[in-house]
Symmetry: C2
Subunit: 419 residues, 2 copies
């Protein structure tokens, strides 16, 4: 069988385990020398392909690639850049073909979330619409857990474990202090449109009165009076109140509690600051002393506390992507299928990319408790397996060891291209 090269790139917000997927892709490619020659990594996602800014992964040692499994962030650089339609922006697609031809690239692996799945879907049409023989596979990743088809998204399990653990730990802190000091603690977590990460905070406690006492979801319209009444009741009953709030928390009319006024490169509003906003309400309406934390990037970079389930799945989708590609399956995404819940078992199945792209998976209504402030037993059954197991990185000199790649650039063969 003829040997051709592969392209791999990372897109969208990175996670604690996206490099584990990179590791899965690259190690699998190295197991198929008959079909796959070099792996070129796009520097900063699809931008690397468009600008012929390619990293020659063949120059990285097996050890360096193995170390990607325990390295957070996106080792090859990620991007927030969405390809336009092939019909209206044909020049970009022709450029991609030029670059792929110049480097004999016939396998395309794109590692990202919903927006990136759309980019991958468009690239996968190169073969059909422009006659270039490319097999494009999307490798799923997103801390938001909002990809459809797949039971869960790699990256989510680790942030869920981090948020659940942090909520548990901080709750013990505030429980110690509440008699004479802080009574309300607010932890702001990611999740623009879907409350999956906020829901994970609820895994910290289960019994009556166990923190977190309130989870505030984007899916439930924020009712200040109802929230404050509940906070007050908790402080009076338990002595303190722990709140996990999603950055996407919003009022009935859709206005976010904390709208920073900025938009990201995809046109999404950049959020942040709901925790201090909510803490301010607590102070104003109830007068309780508060503390608040905004985990921000810490939560999605916390490889030191990754879920082993998540790391295994992130690696597996990368590995499986290559298997699908060498089997000639274009425009697919390896999806995680939950085979059984107790004990938790999973496998990887291929899903058509057209069914994945541009669709968000919201929390099912039955996952949110009737009062809107917590999760149901069904949600707990869904979430709990995803945070199971630890996969601590090696430490050196007190800090996690991370991969150090050469990141040698492939020789450029084409003229510049402006995106």
């Amino acid at each position: 069988m003829a040997q051709h090269n592969a392209f791999y790139a990372q897109s969208g917000g990175v996670t604690a385990v996206i490099n584990a997927s990179a590791c899965g892709v690259i190690e699998a490619c190295r197991r198929h020398p008959d079909q796959i020659g070099k792996v070129y990594a796009g520097h900063n996602g699809i931008i690397g392909a468009l600008t012929e800014d390619l990293i020659d992964v063949s120059q990285e040692s097996d050890e360096a690639i193995a170390a990607l499994r325990h390295t957070p962030g996106g080792a090859f650089g990620s991007c927030r850049y969405k390809l336009k339609d092939i019909e209206t922006h044909r020049a970009q697609y022709e450029r991609l073909i030029e670059v792929f031809k110049a480097h004999d690239i016939r396998y395309f692996f794109y590692n990202g979330g919903g927006d990136s799945a759309d980019t991958c879907l468009k690239v996968s049409q190169l073969s059909e619409k422009l006659g270039y023989p490319l097999t494009a596979i999307h490798v799923p990743k997103t801390v938001d857990n909002d990809l459809p088809i797949t039971d869960n998204s790699p990256g989510f399990g680790s942030v869920a474990k981090y948020i659940a653990t942090s909520t548990l730990e901080a709750s013990l802190d505030i429980a110690s202090m509440c008699a004479t000091s802080t009574k309300v603690f607010v932890l702001e977590v990611m999740g623009r449109h879907a409350g999956w990460i906020a829901a994970a905070g609820a895994l910290a406690g289960e019994g009556e009165g166990e923190p977190p006492h309130l989870v505030i979801f984007p899916e439930v319209a924020f009712d200040r009076a109802a929230v404050m009444a509940r906070v007050d009741a908790c402080v009076k009953e338990y002595g303190y109140c722990v709140i996990v709030v999603s950055e996407g928390a919003r009022y009935e009319d859709g206005t976010f509690l904390a709208d920073s006024g900025n938009t990201d490169a995809f046109g999404h509003r950049q959020l942040g600051g709901v925790a201090p906003t909510l803490a301010g309400m607590v102070k104003q309406d109830l007068g309780y002393k508060y503390h608040w934390a905004v985990a921000d990037y810490l939560q999605r970079a916390a490889r030191h506390l990754a879920s082993k389930t998540d790391v295994d799945q992130a690696y597996a989708v990368g590995d499986k992507a290559v298997e699908l590609a060498v089997a000639g399956k274009n425009s697919m995404m390896p999806a995680i299928k939950r085979v059984s819940e107790t004990p938790y078992e999973w496998c990887i199945e291929a899903a058509p990319l057209a069914e994945v792209a541009n669709r968000e998976k919201f929390m099912p209504g039955e996952f949110i408790r009737e009062d809107g402030f917590g999760i149901t037993a069904a949600c707990r059954r869904y979430l709990s397996p995803l945070i199971q197991g630890e996969d601590f990185p090696p430490f050196e000199n007190g800090l996690p060891k991370v991969a150090h790649l050469k990141l040698a650039k492939a020789e450029r063969k084409l003229p510049d291209f402006t995106i």
Copy 2:
């Protein structure tokens, strides 16, 4: 030798390892049945003693006590409450004597920071000034690392490891994203008056251009123009800029960058929100896209990432406190002494409490780099040993296991007392 009971309590902001000190105290007491009978823990610190709100620790199993070693927060409740002078508030001291007499308490262990050392010092005067035979030992604890005499404070090493690790991890995240998205990341850390925790963030990188690119200390007057110039230079040179900023960052005139306007029970100003304040300056002055995180309680509760050195030292000061007490050494504090730096070796030595109380240890000038934005090699040599080693807690069902105590109250023998 006659057997008497002991009192142990936790005071001030709790840490990831204050319960390891509790474990050290209680296990050591159990090793001295000839001299020490029951241990009574004060519920919510000294308030538990004043109000005769005592937890009978003898009812806790050895296993439960051992589990304290890996449980964050303050298991017996902490407090922010400072005893007034013995001369002006004699009634409180007489009440303490009544409670101690009623429960045959002759050993007093108080686990806290600078303010708590002051309380312990005052209690230690009961024997001399009021003739009650009490041996009072202060068990050091503070994430702020601002206790004098001791080379470092138990609790600091773990928060230092957490902040260094989080800075490293988040820096990898932003480095991946900076080409098309976030260019500046701001992490706010604790440290009201001393920049020890902010300095620990600098352990994340050492080489030229390695993040964090700026550390902003309370010890260095904040100069907006200078900071922004440096941020801009970093973004232009490295593509991004990571800033670790102390909550205590302040202007030349002493005004805090972010003053929430509240004060805590000790009269200290409650701070918070310097990260969004600084991020706002970045947006306003430079126009760069930013993200910010405020670790708040997460940093001092993060037992899952404790420094083994710190856990060992926290246990050791608890253990040694009991040894000092049974040897009749009143008004002392077990202090950590650095015996050698390479390899790092330490021991515990007794320090007179009068030399500890009400004194803050600031960062030595020679620990801050000349430009004010980083740490010196001397500071790195000092800090590095404190984050060495991991001491992961056991995990169960995906989350850290924590101690579950009975917290049975001792029978009350006295009338109520209002504090």
